[in-house]
């Protein structure tokens, strides 16, 4: 029997064993199928960063036609759901009790001030600043309605306001600026991290705990065979899971795929190198599954959620944190996936990112190789 042939045979044996164990363990199915689908559905249906309708209270202290018209403009806006409030107090209470996000107070003599040339009619707005994002949206919407109201009023009176500067906003890649379009590729990154890192972080710790590692080490297997044999099945599993995710995204959520499937597959495969490497490194370092899983969650899942640019924009983070994100493979995957889905095969973006992923992966695999001693002491 030739040497390379037996090398392959041994490698295949480890892979097959690992694959069978994965298939038989219900908990790996939870990670590989249930979690990704839950995740995808939650992000597809439940989570949207587009603020839609905000509840506000309107207090009208002025009975004039102008006041009525402005109130009507607020009610008719598709951004606001108006809750009437009798007086200032009532409005403030609604705000305090978290029932509305803002209170618009149209003061007494609103109309009179509005008509007077030099006086300014003051509409008071109290906004719930606790959620700054919503508060900002409320600011924007109110300002827009106010200028429309003024313009309409001017038109009615035959006077034309001086032309304002208009900003024509166009979103490339995502014309309607739908957050789902960028959340779904992002959640795929998280899913792949989960599969690659969390599952593999358990592989050696599990054998250590169950006492099978000794028997495995006592065979003529080499380190390289153990590392490769233990990761390849998870690689395949993650790729299958990715395929399921992609199909769901395209068919159910109608995400565009502007790049090629090939590029998508390539990016995913490359991403798995650092993801699996990280899991493996955890696994060879930790001797208990518990500790390994915790570390996997802390260093794999959480950063993929919070620091990959998936939910929170990396550019807005302080410089030291931005520096930290360079060590997180999910960061490169996130932009690559968003690019392949929404922009196309932009190799200028994909290639450097893949290169980074491979570099991070090489470090992880190298460290694992170095830490794995095939010894018990």
């Amino acid at each position: 029997m030739s040497r390379p042939q037996s090398w392959w045979q041994q490698l295949r044996a480890v892979m097959l064993k690992e694959a069978k164990q994965v298939m038989r363990d219900p908990s790996s199915w939870i990670i590989a199928v249930v979690l990704p689908l839950t995740f995808l559905f939650l992000f597809g249906y439940g989570i949207s960063l587009d603020t839609t309708v905000v509840k506000i209270a309107v207090v009208r202290e002025d009975g004039s036609r102008d006041a009525q018209e402005f109130a009507a403009a607020l009610s008719n806006s598709r951004w606001f759901l108006v809750v009437p409030a009798g007086d200032r107090r009532a409005g403030e209470r609604l705000l305090q009790d978290q029932i509305v996000k803002a209170v618009v107070i149209i003061p007494a003599e609103f109309a009179r001030f509005l008509q007077a040339q030099n006086a300014t009619a003051q509409v008071q707005v109290l906004v719930d600043g606790a959620e700054p994002n919503t508060a900002n949206f409320v600011h924007g919407y109110l300002s827009a309605i106010w200028s429309d109201f003024l313009a309409a009023r001017a038109r009615q009176r035959g006077t034309v306001l001086a032309a304002p500067v208009e900003v024509a906003v166009r979103y490339w890649y995502n014309a309607n600026a739908e957050s789902r379009w960028f959340l779904i590729p992002g959640s795929m990154t998280v899913i792949m991290t989960l599969l690659g890192t969390l599952l593999t972080s358990l592989v050696i710790a599990r054998e250590w705990e169950r006492g099978t590692l000794e028997a495995l080490y006592a065979t003529p297997l080499t380190r390289g065979q153990i590392l490769i044999g233990k990761t390849l099945p998870y690689f395949l599993l993650a790729m299958v899971s990715m395929l399921v995710c992609v199909l769901t995204a395209l068919l159910l959520f109608h995400l565009p795929l502007r790049g090629s499937l090939l590029a998508l597959g390539l990016v995913s495969a490359v991403f798995l190198v650092p993801a699996l490497g990280q899991g493996l490194l955890i696994s060879v370092t930790m001797k208990s599954q518990m500790a390994a899983a915790q570390l996997g969650l802390m260093t794999g899942f959480m950063p993929a959620m919070m620091l990959s640019g998936f939910l929170f924009d990396i550019h807005s983070m302080p410089p030291w944190l931005r520096l930290l994100t360079f060590a997180i493979p999910a960061r490169y995957m996130n932009i690559s996936l968003q690019t392949v889905f929404l922009a196309g095969n932009v190799w200028a973006v994909l290639l450097p990112n893949m290169l980074f992923m491979l570099a991070v992966g090489a470090v992880f695999f190298g460290l694992s190789w170095w830490r794995l001693h095939k010894r018990l002491d």
């Binding site: 009619a121 600043g129 900002n136």
Partner: protein, 380 residues
């Protein structure tokens, strides 16, 4: 009965705290997360890099650029001769968008004609892009307003980047609870809820499975302690841990990050206890159903995910479809987050708090009773 219960509780606490490494994992990772995420978890968009393609080269174009430069949200405004030239950097996410000032822009404005600037944004980062668009719109319309003579008199939100300048006359905006719209003020109370969820759920979910794997569970089961006592003994220690952790968070969040605490301390602790009970109950249910620690860990994690995503932590509950909003009513974290917001920032009236608190208590009661029942049935 009480002696046995206390013995179990003491044992649980010692197992959690005796080992320095266990102590470390209980305290340090949540603190690190609190710290890192307080910086990372922001929906506020800062350090915007915006490409400028100035084909106009007129005074008004220069004015707009000047104003953008003056806004703290924008870091760099690189110039490009054309949209095509800016595109590579755009693709690589070096800039979030391209502001195009068409030739003739200044001339139009000078002549009193309506003028348009074009803003091309990166839809891959639609959230950041949308917010950036808002900033740009505000700056540009403010510039336009001052040029065309409409008095811009926005007030009330100093320092909130560009948003303060309302385009038209006389809207006076007051931001309650968080006058400077500091995102961290919003995030920190949320993180308090999130992190205590993880700890309470994980501790209980794992403790029984762990004892089962180590064989110590039998040793307690053959003692006169009844299943109900054992279940309660497993439920109470996480409450104690949660209270300690919450106190720690409270101190850090208020003293270190300067987030105000305007509510009632009693309500705060009542909320923490009710919430921890709800989570521990869920954890114990998981624990009763699984056999190994790994299954317990994954089961708890599989629950943690929807709990946190459907709580209003990352995105407002109001944005969800109605059926998911329905789900959030039984999610303890959703109530906990509202309570924390109310307590920290709003000092909301006791009446509105009690309603949330009641809900939380109801959920807590349901999960703990379910857990005790499930546990007793599986243990005997």
């Amino acid at each position: 009965m009480l002696q046995r219960l206390l013995a179990i509780i003491r044992k649980e606490l010692i197992t959690m705290l005796r080992d320095p490494r266990a102590r470390f994992t209980l305290i340090v990772p949540p603190m690190v997360q609190l710290f890192i995420f307080s910086f990372a978890a922001t929906m506020e968009v800062k350090n915007i890099d915006l490409a400028i393609v100035d084909l106009d080269r007129g005074p008004y174009a220069a004015d707009i650029e000047q104003r953008l430069r003056g806004s703290p949200s924008f870091t760099a405004l690189p110039h490009y001769p054309s949209v095509a030239a800016a595109r590579p950097d755009f693709e690589r996410e070096r800039v979030v968008g391209i502001l195009v000032l068409q030739s003739g822009f200044s001339a139009d404005l000078a002549a009193g004609r309506p003028a348009t600037v074009q803003l091309l944004l990166d839809g891959r980062r639609s959230n950041a892009a949308q917010i950036a668009a808002q900033y740009v719109t505000v700056v540009v319309s403010a510039a336009g307003a001052s040029l065309t003579g409409i008095a811009g008199q926005g007030a009330g939100a100093p320092g909130t980047d560009a948003v303060s300048a309302a385009p038209a006359a006389a809207i006076v905006i007051n931001n309650w609870f968080n006058p400077n719209l500091e995102y961290r003020w919003y995030m920190m109370p949320n993180l308090v809820g999130m992190l205590s969820l993880g700890v309470a759920l994980m501790i209980t979910a794992l403790s029984v499975a762990r004892e089962r794997e180590l064989g110590t569970f039998d040793q307690t089961l053959v003692s006169p302690a009844t299943p109900v006592e054992i279940a309660l003994g497993k439920l109470l220690p996480p409450l104690i841990v949660a209270v300690v952790q919450a106190t720690l968070y409270l101190l850090i969040v208020t003293l270190l990050y300067g987030v105000p605490f305007r509510g009632n301390l009693l309500v705060f602790y009542a909320a923490v206890l009710a919430f921890a009970a709800a989570c521990a109950g869920v954890g114990l249910c998981v624990s009763s159903l699984v056999r190994t620690q790994q299954q317990a860990f994954l089961g708890a994690f599989a629950l943690l995910l929807p709990f946190s995503l459907l709580s209003g932590f990352a995105t407002p509950v109001e944005n969800m479809p109605w059926w998911l909003q329905l789900v959030t009513t039984v999610n303890p974290l959703a109530h906990m987050l509202r309570l924390m917001q109310g307590l920290f920032l709003k000092g909301a009236s006791l009446a509105s708090m009690t309603q949330e608190l009641e809900r939380l208590l109801e959920i807590g009661l349901c999960t703990t009773v379910a857990a005790v029942l499930l546990f007793s049935r599986r243990a005997a």
